[in-house]
């Protein structure tokens, strides 16, 4: 197991000092190389869960293990891709991708070799010396993916990475992400609120219920990739997941 989430809960304190349970006791195991999507209506704590795996937030209860060792803070085994605004605008694409390597003291030459490889992997050759503001939203997210992969993490955490993109770019990015994933076989935890995206990408879809977030259902997506959005099986799974989410939202 690459990621083991054991009875993880999170209680926040509001401004009036009242405790609010954001997540209540989630238990989940994620296998090496698996692509897991976490889905749920807004306010279900899916981003909180991801941030706790990343070590940016600490769980109030329970524990998170990555490759057998507990996560106590930001950690080189984990890389995270945010929805947007995570690139450093004063750095070129190359310098952005090299950031983590630079922070870890990798020598310049080795850094350049690794960086160039991942810039090529995400299809941005020729843009290495461009600045983020010269790129489209989709290209920026590819830079973020390259930067994450350059650290060779055990787990790739993605927090609605394509949420700010237009529909066409989004579909293309999903396809490209799957190609990259098939090449690198990283374990991916992908938070989204798009059912379509989850069914298209994931091996397993974890559905959380809102306030407090609890594990509501797990769907295995068994049909092979690349998936056809117009196929019967795709449509039927999407309908099942959507129905469940509708119910969860209504019961709130």
């Amino acid at each position: 197991m690459t990621v083991v989430i054991q009875d993880v809960g999170k209680i926040f304190e509001t401004r009036t000092r009242e405790p609010v349970t954001a997540l209540g006791g989630i238990t989940l195991e994620i296998q090496k190389g698996e692509f897991v999507a976490i889905l749920g209506p807004s306010g279900c704590g899916k981003t909180t869960l991801l941030r706790m795996i990343a070590g940016l937030d600490t769980p109030t209860t329970g524990s998170i293990l990555v490759e057998g060792k507990p996560v106590t803070g930001p950690d080189p085994r984990l890389a995270m891709i945010f929805q947007e605004y995570s690139l450093y605008p004063w750095r070129t694409v190359r310098a952005n991708v090299a950031f983590s390597l630079q922070m870890r003291g990798v020598a310049k030459e080795e850094r350049d070799t690794i960086t160039d490889r991942f810039i090529r992997l995400v299809g941005l050759d020729g843009f290495a010396d461009s600045y983020p503001y010269e790129l489209s939203g989709g290209m920026r997210q590819r830079v973020a993916v390259a930067r994450a992969l350059a650290t060779d993490p055990a787990v790739l955490l993605m927090d609605e990475p394509f949420g700010a993109l237009d529909a066409q770019t989004r579909n293309r990015m999903q396809k490209e992400l799957l190609e990259i994933w098939e090449n690198t076989r990283k374990t991916v935890v992908f938070v989204t609120h798009s059912v379509d995206e989850a069914v298209y990408l994931a091996d397993r879809i974890i559905v959380l219920s809102p306030r407090p977030g609890r594990l509501s259902a797990i769907f295995d997506v068994r049909f092979s990739r690349p998936r056809d959005r117009t196929s019967v099986e795709f449509a039927s799974l999407r309908r099942d997941v959507l129905e469940l989410i509708d119910q969860l939202e209504e019961s709130q």
């Binding site: 605004y85 004063w90 630079q102 503001y133």
Partner: protein
């Protein structure tokens, strides 16, 4: 850009000035534009034994560089620390709020008591004047650094001084630069005012005050024009560098 629109008001002002000076017909109240232009056209010429406009202006610039440089050296590090640590902010904020509204010139008597008349007093006044704009902008810039940038840095293993050098400072740099620009403007105003104090005997501020005593109004106006031009020049320099270095700021998002 309709550049010709920018030219109309100065030309109109010049015309009005010419007409007014002819009507008033008293060079001790309003000299003609021509007499002022004559002073400006020979900037290296000695004026009443006090040195030329250029000499005095350079001396004023040098004083500003000393006072402003000292202010930057103190205010930028202080601003970074205050912006970074909430607890220090809460600790020193009342002090900043207390001192900030005091006009730099209100410090003059104290400066004279401490440093006597001379370079040290002038530099001190400039220091006080430019310290706060630089400090406030630095604090603000550091505090507003995008949270995602910091979290990304943490995830990728930056902390301590690396986080500061590679993320916080570059991210806050445009705001710090704005502070420098504003601070320099204030410093320039302070030097001219400080040089008018009794006992001073050099600098562009002194030169125009001295010219008043001798009834040389055309030199006063010429000096004021030089002060304005240097101010605009410095501001333009700051803005040009800002555009070149921080263009990511406007085009980001």
């Amino acid at each position: 850009m309709r550049w010709y629109l920018k030219v109309i008001p100065p030309l109109f002002l010049l015309l009005a000035w010419e007409v007014a000076s002819i009507l008033i017909n008293n060079p001790f109240i309003l000299p003609t534009p021509t007499s002022v232009a004559l002073v400006l056209l020979s900037p290296m010429a000695d004026i009443l034994g006090s040195g030329s406009i250029i000499d005095n202006a350079l001396l004023s610039i040098w004083r500003v560089i000393l006072g402003f440089g000292l202010a930057v050296l103190c205010a930028v590090p202080a601003g970074i620390i205050i912006g970074r640590y909430r607890i220090i902010d809460e600790l020193v904020n009342p002090l900043i709020q207390l001192f900030r509204p005091i006009p730099p010139l209100a410090w003059v008597p104290l400066a004279l008591a401490w440093f006597k008349i001379g370079l040290a007093s002038i530099v001190f006044i400039i220091f006080i004047g430019s310290f706060f704009p630089v400090l406030i902008n630095t604090i603000d810039g550091v505090r507003r650094v995008n949270r995602t940038w910091i979290e990304t840095a943490l995830i990728y293993g930056a902390k301590g001084w690396k986080l500061l050098v590679y993320v916080i400072i570059p991210a806050a740099a445009p705001a710090i630069w704005t502070g420098l620009r504003v601070g320099f403007g204030v410093a320039w105003m302070c030097v001219v005012a400080a040089e008018m104090l009794p006992g001073t005997n050099s600098g562009i501020g002194y030169l125009i005050m001295y010219s008043y005593n001798w009834g040389q109004v055309q030199v006063i106006i010429a000096g004021m024009i030089v002060i304005g031009i240097i101010g605009i020049g410095a501001d333009l320099l700051f803005r040009t560098i800002e555009k070149k270095k921080f263009q990511w700021q406007e085009m980001n998002r």
